[in-house]
Amino acid sequence: MDTTEKIAKLKKEREEIIESASKRVPEDTYIDKEVKKISSIYHTIITDIKEETKDVKTFTLSADKNSSTPNLAPFKAGQYITIHLNIDSSPVTRAYSLSSSPSLANKDIYKITIKRVENGLVSNYMLDNMKVGDPLDVSKPAGEFGYSMIKDEENVIAIAGGSGITPFMSLAYAILEEIYNCNLTVFYSVRTYDDIIFKKEIEEINKKKKNVKFVITLTREEKEGFLHGHLTKEMLEPYVKEFNTVLMCGPKDLYRSMNEILNEFNIPRKSVHYENFFVEYEPAEKLEYKLKVVMKDKVEEITCKNDETLLVAMERAGIPAPSLCRVGECGYCRSILLDGKVKMIGASLKKAEAENDYIHPCVSFPDSDIVLKLDI
């Protein structure tokens, strides 16, 4: 046979095989169906609100069974969700660590615990206005913080400052439910007895004398049964073993003082994980700049103070800018700085992103007038 004949033969064979197949639209595989259930936004309803302390509440969120997302996504202890609200016609978001057991997500329930922040737009709104029965849209759980069976050690020391306790409640439940096989000691540093969040749950867990233990230190109050003052080497010493994994969640001051202590125990860098919790930045002089936002089909000019992030300025102006972690880590808000200078605090930018003028608006404070390309 020559080439033309062979090509004709191959084409005919192919044609015959194709013609014998079904004419129906191809079906989804199991994986395709499961992936379709994953959404970037889940519609939930607040089904319970529990007052933990005078300025902390735990919100139980259940999947809205009548919505397009009747089931919630699974999560790993340590992950967060981002809640979406519309306050005074501004779209705003905030990320909160999930404080409930990962197994509750199988029943389509998430819990988040919110502490009132002085002048905090979202925390005050949540604590003062939201009631049982209200709808709330939340993101898919995200974040890298947590325990890994593969790389982490069996002895886990968690350091929590204030509301930084929330991811460790989830981790504690995960360990008690044998999702993870490890020992956890949570050092919980809190101002006073009345500020302790999850007081009852912690008491019950400590009573079980299992592989999870909470050690509470009160920094501004002396009380029987509790340690007093900031965490010290001596407080940790009895719980440090040959190999340890340290998880920290709280304000940056806590990380700084703890790192000094951890160095004394010779705990290697790879065994210490931090949750980025706050973006702290205070400009020397308060100024206001122009912010020009170039979107797909329109351009908006707004103002941005130098003590607020570009993301906050856009939200205030009603621009629905995307956001997820709000601490510079996840890259969901990435945008291109077309002109101007920003101060970026702790953005986890890839080298190539930095070279191509990408910034994370959620942690970018203006240092001049700004022109931003935002793909929405």
């Binding site: 020559d2 191959l10 639209v25 199991y30 790879k270």
Partner: protein, 493 residues
């Protein structure tokens, strides 16, 4: 707003199509659902490590001496990238065959090693080389739409032969055939169902246009392509997820937010199956039949590890590691139907690129593949547990197979499952290589039947399209398909 061309997806195929069209002064819009370009060719950051998702060996780019077709196109578009040579340095192990060898050094060195193992390898391998060249040259002629008569007797001879048959015919010792076929085990096409033409073209690129590594990260490569496309006048909208494509009357694309864009032609950097299932408003029975007849390729588990020691300390001296159950691809395929890791691929980018990770650290990427529906037992209640358990097994099996200690040095870890890949790239079933190149559906068959199977005003580019998976093929598909479209345009005018 009306465009000449709308491209759905800024993967490598989509960017390549965009580059060629913009270079030819067409008005082009690329719609990308993610916030960065590249599709599978992307990079993610964990701690102090930047992990490349997929592209480690760039084929068909070549070097200064041996210029591959991709480099030629890059020169035309005035695109510059920095590359590093990849020496032969592969450790291959097969459990059933009790085979363990390192193919290293120059080509003559490792062919000599094969000769020592299996007599007759060297002379027959030498006589294979001109056949590879001839097949490549015949394909160049065929792709230009010209007649392949007479000048290419070997192309004609082996056109309807599978790789195994042809290599036997070329007198290559049986064991050597299976060693040469190791790369295909990875993609899942057994040699007795893979066209010799597809096999020869890939081996030609591998031997004559040595693969190179990117000096910079995957995302740098993708951003360079996207940036050049924009400089040439093209437009990309990110975070633009397409909901519907309609071809009747005026071809148009509708986004999830309701925005509609019209164009004369629509090009999808998505698999045909995904588009037929999820996006296309009208129904095309023949296109459905074509998809239903096909076999979806493998999916798998990829474990990215950031290790806190230099590779020398970890005794990871090879660039790539493979462990197979059986070197015979047809037999090995059967072992990939369950959650076992008897097909392991390991890559240590630091061996070829000192910039792959921070000083005194190493990146190790482990991959295993599954050819059946074993993921069907995984649901939201056991997802994270299963994923971690499988990754853990994979790491331990790699340690055992190659006698190294990895686990205690893991500083960062990320695990990608078929669910991750399906969600990020819309690949059907989370598969990594598009429709499998098998039997009647190898790249050569897709090429010769291309014009007969076209849906009017809709084309496909990328790793799921005509030339199959691999960045070289995805990029070339973007060029080839747009050349066809430009030619059609010229004829119509």
């Amino acid at each position: 707003m009306k465009y000449d061309y709308i491209i759905v997806g800024a993967g490598i195929g989509g960017l390549s199509a965009g580059l060629n069209l913009a270079f030819n002064d067409k008005k082009v819009l690329i719609l990308e659902k993610n916030s960065l370009p590249g599709g599978f060719v992307t990079t993610f950051k964990r701690g102090r490590f930047e992990f490349d998702a997929s592209l480690y060996d760039l084929l068909d780019y070549g070097n200064e001496e041996h210029i591959g077709s991709m480099q030629r196109l890059f020169k035309k578009y005035n695109l510059e990238i920095e590359t590093l040579p990849i020496p032969y340095n592969v450790k291959i192990k097969s459990i059933d065959d009790k085979f363990e060898e390192v193919l290293k050094g120059e080509i003559d060195d490792w062919v000599l090693r094969l000769e020592e193992l299996y007599s007759g390898s060297m002379s027959t391998f030498r006589s294979l080389l001109p056949v590879l060249k001839e097949v490549h040259e015949a394909l160049v002629v065929l792709k230009k739409g010209r007649n392949v008569e007479k000048d290419f007797p070997n192309f004609t001879k082996y056109l309807d032969k599978n790789a195994y048959e042809a290599l036997v015919d070329l007198n290559i010792p049986d064991a050597t055939i299976h060693v040469l076929g190791y790369l295909w085990i990875e993609i899942g096409s057994p040699l007795n169902k893979l066209s010799f033409i597809d096999f020869a073209e890939c081996l030609y690129k591998y031997i004559f246009k040595r693969p190179v590594a990117l000096k910079n990260k995957n995302i740098d490569f993708s951003l360079k392509l996207a940036k050049r496309f924009e400089e040439l006048g093209g437009k990309i909208h990110y975070r633009a997820k397409v909901k519907e494509i309609s071809l009747e009357n005026n071809p148009k694309v509708t986004l999830e937010d309701g925005t509609t864009y019209e164009a004369k032609e629509i090009i999808c950097n998505l698999s045909e199956r995904y588009v037929l299932k999820n996006l296309l408003k009208e129904s095309y029975p023949l296109a459905n039949q074509k998809e239903n007849a096909r076999t979806i390729s493998m999916n798998g588990l990829v474990v990215y590890l950031g290790l806190n020691k230099p590779y020398q300390d970890l005794k990871l001296y090879n660039y790539r590691y493979y462990e197979f159950q059986n070197l015979n691809s047809a037999v090995n395929l059967k072992s990939m139907k369950k959650f076992s890791h008897h097909t392991i691929e390991g890559i240590v980018p630091n061996i070829v690129n000192e910039y792959a990770s921070p000083k005194n650290t190493t990146i190790l990427v482990l991959k295993t593949l599954y050819s059946s529906n074993c993921w069907n037992t995984v649901n939201k209640t056991n997802y994270y547990e299963t994923k971690e358990a499988l990754a853990n097994e994979l790491i331990e099996e790699f340690e055992n197979a190659f006698h190294v200690d990895i686990k205690e040095y893991i500083e960062e870890i990320e695990i990608a499952t078929p669910f991750t890949m399906a969600r990020y790239t819309n690949s059907v079933n989370g598969c990594m290589f598009g429709p499998m190149r098998l039997g009647y559906d190898n790249s050569i068959h897709r090429l010769i039947s291309y014009e007969d199977e076209q849906i009017p005003h809709l084309s496909f580019v990328g790793a799921s399209s005509i030339f199959g998976s691999g960045v070289d093929n995805a990029f070339y598909s973007g060029y080839y398909i747009t050349e066809k479209l430009l030619e059609k345009e010229r004829k119509e005018n």
